[in-house]
């Protein structure tokens, strides 16, 4: 840890309890986590271990039952819905397992979508979208609809959408889960190159092969962090 690499995400004692039909389910129990700017972290664990719940809390899609979450130096519990939406829009880029592109928007419009919610002028949006699409090698498909693209290409567009807003962190939820190995490798390579270019990435995966691409792997089991692995040569 150095002063040039401050903490971007800090979780302290985060718990998440779901109440259904008077049954308490502890999805997360006392998670402590510190992710610094420029880090590439993977969160690994078997199905149902709580990693997606953790990701949704990190992405401000959900709120912890207890504990503290500080994003970019700012505590985020107690924020209003519009404030959370604003932070999601500006600080976080999402990459989903099944891409989640909107079917009746073109590639360009899909990538542009988060920028429109930011109220960004059209000319700036155009620059950003074009840059993001070029970065993932999809500039030539800007006018296509998602249905005209392969799965790998759709995921690249989803990555471009996450990148376009220059977020503080990219949250990727099983980004290769719906891809064949060749396309999966390509997407992982893309994330790797983004990391090399300075992006902070938090990736949830249950595939240890892909988890190893990250500098640091946090293993979650039954809602707890059970192990952390740091790849050799990482800055952490």
């Amino acid at each position: 840890m150095t002063t040039e690499n401050p903490s971007l995400i800090k979780l302290e004692g985060v718990t998440k309890v779901f109440l259904t039909d008077e049954v308490e389910t502890h999805a997360l129990s006392g998670i402590h986590m510190d992710i610094r700017k420029g880090e590439y972290v993977s969160i690994a664990g078997p199905s149902g271990c709580g990693k997606s719940t953790l990701l949704s809390i990190l992405g401000l899609l959900d709120t912890p039952t207890d504990g503290t979450y500080i994003l970019n130096g700012r505590p985020v519990q107690g924020l209003t819905l519009p404030e959370r939406a604003r932070i999601r829009n500006r600080e976080i880029g999402f990459i989903f397992q099944s891409f989640n592109l909107i079917g009746d928007l073109t590639v360009y419009e899909n990538v542009e979508l988060p920028l429109t919610y930011r109220g960004m002028p059209a000319s700036e949006r155009k620059t950003r979208v074009t840059e993001a699409l070029e970065k993932v090698g999809m500039g030539h498909r800007a006018k296509h609809l998602p249905s005209q693209l392969s799965g790998g290409q759709q995921q690249r567009v989803a990555v471009a959408r996450a990148l376009a807003g220059s977020p503080a962190v990219l949250l990727a939820d099983e980004p290769t889960g719906n891809l064949d190995s060749k396309n999966g490798d390509a997407v992982m390579e893309l994330l790797h190159s983004l990391h090399r270019a300075g992006s902070t990435i938090v990736m949830v995966t249950h595939d240890t092969r892909f988890a190893r691409h990250a500098e640091r792997t946090i293993h979650v089991f039954d809602g707890r962090v059970v192990e952390e692995q740091v790849e050799a040569g990482s800055a952490h």
Partner: protein, 849 residues
């Protein structure tokens, strides 16, 4: 098929909400159509309930305008195609000629005519019966009229010295005798003639006169001279008033009857024609009449419906009503089709499985169509219930402008057949496209999992249907706006006189046994007695009631005025009591009003209105100028002594037109006794007082048609009121259906797009963004619908332009108002789905992983 039906029923029961909304939508649409069809059936389709109505023929004639007899009593209509006048009134002479010369072609020829004025005294109680007719002795037998009791009128009753007899209707028998068989053999005093009741016609037979007219009393033609002793012109060849029908001999066609009788007809009318247009040059009236003979066409029409002039005159009203309800049905069909599309999309999995299991597309189409037709039949069944209520409501609105009890709208086999046909047609109409779409599935994609794009498939067909619904609703609402504003414009119109606090009633002195020459004195006596009643501030009477739809017009000949060729010299006439202008508060502009000294012995005088004065005298004073009516030699008959303000005399819609008033006491042919009493306080409280007073003066002279002037004007607006109310009702119904449809479409869209909305929120959309996204979708659909609807309404409203008043068919205020209403409804309909969308948890974007 049985299995399809069972599955369809089970499937509909499984979705009670969908089924209820769909059945209700269809029930409203089919119910409205069934109601209006029952009117179409009654007015345009139904035949007389007599033996072989297809064999009956009705004789009439057609001629260029102004060519015909000197006097016509009956309907004349203008044929829009040829410009000819068409009429069914003929002379007694023609009847006799046709009767004696037609036996090879017709098994019977019979005649009938309404009795305009009938006073009846039964057990000492006098009443006015306006529904009597006289008929030739073979009328009942030739028609084959079913009798409920007693016997029909026979040829032996139709002899000059035969004892007077009368046949009564089933309705009259029930009302006056409570259906007592002992009524046969009792006597009625009809216009002073004591006639024995010999029979009662079956309830389904209401006569051969115009639709809606139920003839309570039927008397032999031979009695006419005793029933209407003042009508001495009835036997003249130039007085055409009797209607003639015949029954074709077996194997004879109408064309053959026409060919065989045209000569007889022509011969019979040659002494009855006028000279037509003023003869030019040296052409004598005799030569002109002979030339006119060739211009009168003999027409043999089907007679299975009796007289059809009224039926024809209602055609446009019925067409408009039909258009209104067809639009409502289309909105309902579009609504249900949209519901079925959504349902089909929700059943993709089920249909995919069926296809995978080997069902053919045709087989699935059949199953889905069975469901939609079943829905339509359920809608039709509920629609019949609505139609049952709707008939009663329609009758209250007086669709034909007559009192409701004269028209019945039974739901007979033809109406039920219509409803069944509509149910099948609508079931296929709204079911085919959704069924076609639902079965057009890609099996491989249907079972594929994995990657997804968000947003659901937004059906273009569903959106088109929605736009169409909005457009149709707008058309109906524009109609409602135009008709409602027309009604309001007419209701608020300045009639030119004070129409409030006026009680009106009529007496018929001639039918009560008085001579025409006595009427002025008789009516004046009534007026004097009424004036003495407490609360009465003025009283008057006139030959023609004001704003009743009745009119008396004549061609004016004015001294010093030479009419241009083709100039309309028609003026509205009335004969009035001296108190007329003060009672109506019709201001006198210059000159004097009438006084009691303007009697039969005094110099003949007249008062004209401003339009008359302007037309004939320009800026010069009309006082002292003279005019008359008819031929030029009459131009000096009456001296103008005053000018009154222009007013509406016959109908509210009329433009100011020349009118002339003459003292009632100076009329040579006075017969009308239409009183107007200006009162203070509640006009309704004077009814019994006036009845009592008249009974005291003359117990044989019943008071008829008691109403206020406002009520009389309202009666004259019954058609406008009906269109305003029905179009508003149907417009609001369509709007309700469209808003339900829009709500359903958007709700379904939000449901299908939950993932997309969650994603948008995950990407930073705030609830306001999502809210606006859904409202905007609704506004977009509404905008397309409004644009399409405005164009359609603009085109269709030309067809009803003649029924509007005080605004144009493209009235911008109405169009803008209706457009705004639809936009507002689109926003309101979208608010709930939009609110639901704005509350989507962004977690759904992950949850579906």
């Amino acid at each position: 098929m049985h299995a399809d039906l069972r599955f369809a029923l089970r499937s509909l029961l499984k979705s009670p909400g969908f089924t209820a909304v769909a059945v209700l939508s269809l029930a409203l649409g089919i119910g409205a159509n069934t109601t209006v069809f029952s009117l179409v059936n009654e007015v345009l389709l139904k035949s007389l309930p007599v033996r072989e109505p297809g064999q009956l023929v009705l004789f009439s004639w057609a001629a260029p305008e102004r060519i015909g007899p000197q006097s016509i009593n009956g309907w004349t209509q203008r044929d829009a195609a040829t410009g000819e006048t068409i009429c069914t009134s003929l002379s007694l002479h023609t009847f006799e000629q046709l009767r004696t010369s037609s036996s090879a072609l017709l098994s019977d020829v019979f005649a009938f005519a309404p009795l305009d004025r009938v006073n009846v005294v039964l057990d000492g109680n006098a009443e006015v019966v306006t529904t009597g007719q006289i008929v030739s002795g073979n009328y009942h037998a030739a028609l084959g009229v079913p009798m409920l009791a007693g016997r029909s009128i026979l040829p032996t009753d139709d002899q000059p010295n035969a004892p007077p007899v009368v046949v009564i209707s089933a309705g009259y028998w029930q009302r006056k005798f409570a259906g007592d068989p002992a009524a046969i053999g009792r006597t009625l005093a009809v216009n002073g003639v004591i006639a024995e009741i010999v029979g009662v016609t079956a309830p389904q037979f209401t006569g051969t006169l115009q639709i809606g007219e139920v003839q309570d009393l039927t008397l032999p033609l031979a009695l006419y001279s005793r029933l209407s002793p003042d009508d001495t012109d009835a036997t003249q060849p130039w007085c055409w008033w009797i209607r003639i029908m015949g029954r074709l001999q077996p194997g004879i066609t109408r064309a053959q009857a026409h060919a065989g009788l045209a000569g007889v007809f022509k011969e019979s009318i040659k002494d009855g024609l006028n000279a037509g247009e003023p003869a030019a040059g040296s052409v004598t009236p005799e030569v002109a009449k002979a030339a006119n003979l060739d211009k009168v066409r003999f027409v043999v029409n089907p007679g299975g419906q009796g007289l059809t002039e009224a039926r024809r005159s209602y055609t446009q009203s019925i067409q408009i009503l039909t258009a209104l309800v067809v639009l409502v049905l289309l909105v309902a069909c579009a609504n249900v089709a949209n519901l079925l599309l959504a349902r089909g999309a929700a059943r993709v999995r089920e249909i995919t499985v069926r296809l995978a299991l080997g069902a053919s597309r045709a087989r699935l189409l059949r199953q889905l169509l069975t469901e939609s037709v079943l829905l339509a039949f359920l809608g039709a069944a509920a629609g019949l219930v609505f139609a049952w209520w709707g008939r009663a409501a329609l009758l209250v609105l007086q669709p034909l402008g007559r009192s409701a009890n004269m028209l019945e709208l039974p739901l007979d086999w033809r109406v039920l057949g219509f409803t069944t046909a509509v149910a099948i047609a609508t079931g296929i109409l709204f079911g085919l496209a959704p069924a076609w779409r639902a079965t057009r599935l890609d099996l491989a994609a249907g079972f594929a999992g994995g990657t997804r794009t968000l947003g659901g498939e937004r059906s273009r067909l569903a959106r088109i249907l929605m736009v169409v619904q909005i457009a149709l609703s707008l058309v109906l609402l524009v109609g409602a706006g135009l008709f409602t504003r027309t009604l309001r414009n007419l209701q608020q119109l300045d009639a030119g006189f004070n129409r409030s606090q006026l009680v009106l009633f009529s007496v018929d002195g001639v039918a009560g046994g008085h001579k025409r020459a006595e009427l002025a004195a008789l009516h004046t006596r009534f007026a004097d007695r009424i004036a003495a009643l407490p609360g009465v501030s003025a009283v008057t009477f006139s030959q023609v009631p004001v704003l009743s739809g009745s009119s008396w017009t004549s061609n004016a000949v004015v001294q010093g005025h030479v009419p241009a060729k083709g100039e309309n010299t028609n003026v509205v006439m009335n004969g009035v009591h001296p108190g007329f202008f003060s009672a109506y508060q019709l201001p006198l502009i210059i000159g004097r009003g009438f006084t009691a000294r303007d009697d039969a012995a005094a110099p003949k005088v007249a008062i004209v209105n401003q339009a008359f004065a302007r037309k004939y005298f320009g800026d010069a004073s009309p006082i002292g100028r003279r005019f008359g009516t008819g031929e030029d030699k009459n131009a000096g008959d009456w001296e103008i002594v005053g000018v009154v303000r222009d007013a509406k005399y016959t109908r509210l819609r009329e433009e100011p037109r020349p009118a002339a008033f003459r003292p009632y006491a100076q009329l040579q042919n006075a017969w009308g006794g239409h009183f107007a009493v200006r009162v203070t306080g509640d006009a309704g409280t004077y009814a019994s007082m006036l009845r009592g007073l008249l009974r005291d003066i003359d117990p044989n002279l019943p008071l008829a048609n008691l109403r206020t002037q406002e009520e009389q004007i309202a009666r004259g607006l019954s058609s406008e009121r009906m269109f305003a109310r029905l179009s508003s009702f149907f417009g609001l119904l369509a709007l309700l259906l469209a808003s339900i449809g829009l709500y359903g479409l958007l709700s379904y869209s939000v449901l299908r797009r939950t993932g997309e909305i969650g994603l948008r929120m995950a990407l930073g959309a705030v609830p306001g963004h999502v809210l606006w996204m859904i409202v905007r979708e609704s506004l977009l659909l509404a905008s397309f619908g409004v644009v399409l609807g405005l164009g359609s309404a603009w085109a269709l409203s030309r067809l009803v332009a003649s029924r509007l008043y005080g605004l144009s068919a493209s009235d911008p205020g109405t169009y803008a108002g209706v457009g705004l209403i639809l936009v507002a409804v689109a926003i309101i309909s979208s608010l709930l789905p939009a609110r639901r969308a704005s509350r989507v948890d962004p977690m759904v974007a992950l949850r579906a992983e």
